[in-house]
Amino acid sequence: MEQDIEQKGYAHPEAVVSTEWVAERLNDTENIRIVESDEDVLLYDIGHIRNSVKIDWVEDLNDPLVRDYLDPEHFARLMGEKGIGLETTVVFYGDKNNWWATYALWVFQLFGHENVVVMDGGRIKWEQEGREMTQEVPSFPSKDYPVPTRDDEKIRAFKEDVERHLEKQGPMIDVRSPGEYSGELLHMPDYPQEGALRGGHIPGAASVPWARAVREDGSFKSADELKEIYEGEAGLNQGDDVIAYCRIGERSSHTWFVLKYLLGYDKVRNYDGSWTEWGNSVRAPIER
């Protein structure tokens, strides 16, 4: 049953907007920039929300050489090119239940761009509602975006952070598929370079596949439904310091968003090194 966002009981309802909200603001390009971020890199080309721009997680947000995100200078340049200023509200949407949209949002937050929201339901909901799509790529005047400072402390966890978290038995959520969690799937067939030498999960991590947070229409479940999953089943408690991880940190950014904004967990970090780092590390403890 479709619910208004206000009725879903989120801790931060202001972090989520409806398709209707977006549809009513398509022409407010001075204050709002709609950003499509997909796994399927050609979706934007075959049709997108009018006046939206594309940000690609591989080509725009990753450092081309080092396994890291883009540096502050490149982030500022990217913002300028997309016509995004410090005050611009960035509305993210994308395929796969907003998986990549929340990933892009998480990267924006590393650079302190706090004025970000997610369009509930993402691309699939917009399409299913029969809303307008276009192939026209908009062009906006570039903005002078000051070079920010990247803060990797608050919302990002590195391997050493996870090791310390493990020592104090802090809660962790493994958002991968059950097969990956159990170690049955060591790596994805044909993708050995994104795999790991050992299978399983970080000891003590609870298994909550990321997509359990969404309904069939792609929209987020209500706060009560989410609490049942993350608190009732996975054992989290309000106020917990939580680390989420997956394979390379993209699926877990979705869970990071759910815990932080929808359920109000202030201390949630995304371990983007994830299983491709942990499962390849010598003597890293593993549970199956």
């Binding site: 796994e39 399927d40 050609l42 690609d56 080509e59 991968r176 994805m188 067939p189 044909d190 993708y191």
Partner: protein, 141 residues
């Protein structure tokens, strides 16, 4: 071909994939990729004496991986390539054929079908070799 033209060709294949479906009498069914991330395909292959007698695929995932799988199967069947010729196909040349501007950094998605097809061919060759090497022993036994 412009990027837009390359995308148009990919879309044609994505929306009307060639040689899609399960090949009932396949000798090999080779999976590749992942449904969880990117795309996944299964290549069905039937062969005889180094020649490809039947070829099809099933799959799900992004436009590039599914369309490029359709393209490589079409190429192999239209050109009547042998198993050895499939193994010799060059990944970079195939990405050029698919359209490098459209593929961008997703070269792995573009070659998922080809790499899975090569795996299927190698398995067929191994199975054939094994069958031939054990056949006399079976007869003797």
């Amino acid at each position: 071909m412009s990027r837009q033209q390359q995308i148009a060709v990919l879309l044609q294949h994505y929306q009307g994939p060639r040689h899609q479906g399960v090949l009932a009498d396949a000798d090999v069914a080779m999976p590749g990729g992942s449904p969880e991330c990117g795309g996944s395909v299964v290549i069905y292959l039937r062969g005889e004496e180094g020649r490809i007698r039947g070829l099809s695929f099933t799959g799900q995932g992004d436009i590039i991986s599914q369309a490029a799988t359709s393209m490589i199967l079409e190429q192999v069947l239209d050109e009547g390539l042998t198993m050895d010729e499939v193994i010799a196909l060059d990944y970079e040349a195939f990405v050029d054929r698919v359209g490098r501007e459209a593929v961008g950094s997703r070269t792995r998605n573009a070659t998922l079908g080809l790499s899975t097809l090569k795996s299927a061919v190698r398995k067929h060759q191994r199975d054939t070799l094994y069958a031939n090497s054990t056949e006399p022993a079976r007869k003797a036994g």
